[in-house]
């Protein structure tokens, strides 16, 4: 019955995450969506470009999912990241969990995004009007 969806995709369809996480034994679903925002330190971002080491990224996402299932009592889980160029307001990542009670899905959802950002081999390049910057590359 437990179900994990892990994907790296070109475009994230935010409308289907509810049906992906819906489960007869789940009273709570928590979803986090990360999207491109216009300003980074006062400079206007034109777009973000995401690059990934796909085989490894999927493996790491799988480990994060397994860890979440071992830490919390969850029924379903989604980890989906986009690659390529994303413009302002476009979704770049969606993670979510469903559980009987709400504490578990909130805690798991926060863990999913924090750990994904920490570990999964995906790189983000900020595209400004006059330059591009690989995020976090330099101290």
């Amino acid at each position: 019955m437990k179900k994990i969806i892990i994907e790296i995709v070109d475009t994230i369809d935010t409308s289907r995450v509810y049906s992906e996480l819906s489960h007869a034994q789940s009273g709570g679903i928590c979803v986090f969506i990360g999207s491109v925002r216009e300003f980074t330190n006062k400079e206007a971002v034109v777009a973000l470009e995401f690059e990934t080491y796909k085989t490894m990224a999927l493996k790491e996402m799988r480990k994060i999912a397994d860890e979440a299932f071992s830490k919390w009592d969850l029924n379903k889980l989604v980890l989906r990241h986009a690659t390529g160029i994303k413009k302002v307001e476009e979704p770049v990542v969606i993670v979510g969990a469903s559980s009987a009670h709400r504490s578990e899905c909130f805690e798991a959802c926060r863990f999913l995004i924090d750990t994904l950002k920490d570990r999964v081999p995906i790189w983000k390049k900020e595209i400004f009007r006059n330059k591009t910057v690989w995020v976090s590359a330099h101290p």
Partner: protein
Amino acid sequence: MDVLLFGIAKDIVGESRLRLEGEHEDLLSVGQLKRFLKRKFPEFSNLSSFAVAVNSEYAEDDVPLGRNDEIAIIPPVSGG
């Protein structure tokens, strides 16, 4: 030995795959590969950090490198 490059590592080296031929004999571990890269491309020393993956798993410095392993340079990740 081929080394896959991503993100800023690809920009530093100027290609997405680094072919190491004659030099290969000395590169027996992850640690040796990291030192080699910093020597050959000093820009690597300016990064916040960088990791190496062997067969798509993060690998510590003492992990040995084999001719058939898939080796990749993992500069600081920034997904999400």
